[in-house]
Symmetry: C2
Subunit: 171 residues, 2 copies
């Protein structure tokens, strides 16, 4: 009567060791620190927050540099409400524009302004260099590969579906 695939997994009843817990906490702390450092650097270099960067990245890769609001939300994995609030602030700063959608009167289309495109393209190189400096340069190629392996394991545990989760994203 087993109805699903992962019901019978033994999942090693033992408790976590304290060193496993330490690895967990270090993972959270270290990634938080990296996000903080790179976010501050990005803001200082370009005046863009990491959230701004994500939005502008998706828009700059879109055909015609414009996207429906909900497509944009799906691409960057945000809730629509969050996106709407953030687009308000970005519109006020002149980074993006909004028009009514031609094919669906409910929808709205978000477009990259020239100012937004300029800001984004000025932000890209310093940001990539900062990632390299603080992340890639710290690791050997073997360590990068080991980390990729760990992340694959975590992802496939989070999302048992066989669909590949790591979509390709270009700078």
């Amino acid at each position: 009567m087993s109805d699903d695939g992962h019901a019978a997994t033994p999942v090693a009843g033992r408790r976590m060791t304290s060193s496993e817990l330490t690895v967990w906490r270090t993972l959270i702390d270290t990634t938080a620190e990296l996000r903080r450092i790179l976010g501050a650097q990005l803001l200082q270099d370009s005046g863009l927050s990491p959230a701004d960067y994500q939005v502008l990245l998706a828009l700059s890769e879109a055909a015609g540099r414009r996207l429906r609001s909900s497509e944009l939300a799906a691409i960057i994995g945000w809730e629509r409400s969050r996106l709407s609030h953030h687009l308000n602030r970005m519109e006020r700063r002149g980074l993006i524009g909004r028009n009514h959608c031609a094919t669906d009167s409910r929808g709205s289309e978000v477009s990259l302004t020239d100012d937004g495109a300029r800001m984004f393209s000025g932000a890209t190189l310093p940001h990539l260099r900062a990632i390299k400096r603080h992340f890639t340069d710290a690791l050997t190629p073997e360590q990068v590969e080991a980390l990729a392996d760990v992340l694959r394991a975590l992802q496939s545990h989070l999302h048992p579906e066989p669909t590949t989760r790591v979509e390709e994203k270009r700078p």
Copy 2:
């Protein structure tokens, strides 16, 4: 010429490969997802946010279950202003109490209430189980060790100081 400590490192002038960039983005996305999942689980199981949990953890381990405000801030690595705001909200909920410090009239002492201690102790086990379920159970012991190695490399790159403070000038 350069003032920082790692001048002699060749720092491989080459750019990042796209797979290195993908590993970086996956690291950020995956840890964000884990934080989100575990935070939501914690809140649902115990009514405590991750921030509450950190504060209560530090207090519950302190001698007499009380700490000076700035010590607490140092232990959990928060800015004092953030802590002050958060303690206001936790005090309103009856999780902690505040008294004037006896030895320093500027200071304030934060103490764990019985309610706070109960909430925290009820939160601990489910939280540890959730970490095990979503993190530890996804990895082999070898992967955990490889991740620990990667985190050590990242940390020592972020903080060039050797882990042990070797020398300290005393007046």
